[in-house]
Amino acid sequence: MSFAKEATDIMMQNNRFTTLIWLALVALTLVTFAIGEAGFAGKHVMLGLLLIALIKGQMVSNYFMGLKQADFLWRAIMLIYYLLVGGLIAAAYLLGLQ
């Protein structure tokens, strides 16, 4: 197998992988939408919605933005951002329940 052909094959596989990521993102968006349309509310629903956002955010930053290939530090910054913002949103929500 020629070098050029191998390179093309790997890239085709990458494209297939990113297509799967895109489909997963679409599916998770539809889940969020369905939860909203059903009018579900409450602590567990809120946590579930934030968890979905965290997973989607990680998919976009790691595989679309390409942070998977970058130093761990950059991935860590992105993960900490999501955990911090999401955590504070959850804390504020729980505060509102009281």
Binding site: M1, F3, E6, A7, T8, I10, M11, N14, N15, T18, T19, I21, W22, L25, V26, T29, L30, T32, F33, I35, G36, E37, A41, V45, M46, L49, L50, I52, A53, K56, G57, V60, S61, Y63, F64, M65, G66, L67, Q69, A70, D71, W74, I77, Y81, Y82, L84, V85, G86, L88, I89, A92, Y93, L95, G96, L97
Partner: protein
Amino acid sequence: MTKNSSMQIAILQSDRKSGDLPGDLAIWIFIFAEMLVFGVLFVAYAFSRANDVELFNASQQTLSQTAGALNTLVLISSSYLVVRAVSAIRKGCSTDCARWLSGAFLLGGVFVAIKLVEFYAKFSAGITLSTNTFYMFYLALTFFHFMHVIMGMIILAFVIAKARRGGYSAHDYDGVETGASFWHMVDLLWIILFPLVYVIR
């Protein structure tokens, strides 16, 4: 596959040192700065809501979840097309790269159109920044994000023009990655904004 050829492929896939961020480092400083500003606004929204849950829940009911969800799908798909554009230029296909980016740009236009319909509905109902705290946050957050979409589209337009002229190659595509990174950030922010403002109640 031999070890040697897989190393060659790794080099071909990217000329940058492994571990570096895609695109220009400057855009990443900008991305993290913008995310910080949005992060503060998201948290401010959440704590303001805690002070007046009933008002926020009642006002949120007037938003179109369908429009919000549609726009999420539009941005996610647009981001995906940008990934394909980067993949194309890595193979040296400028024309394909420009085509994928044009698709992403068009979807950006769809986002803008949907958002304008939403803004128009709110303004014609007499809702402004001073109507109540929820609408102040809703309008400020989504308009600020909207401006980032517009800016992202301007960046994409410049990258598309250069790609059409054959200005990028398999060894020189930093500009494409830089524009792509900004566009993904716009997507990344909406991924939090949509559940936070439209869905969580």
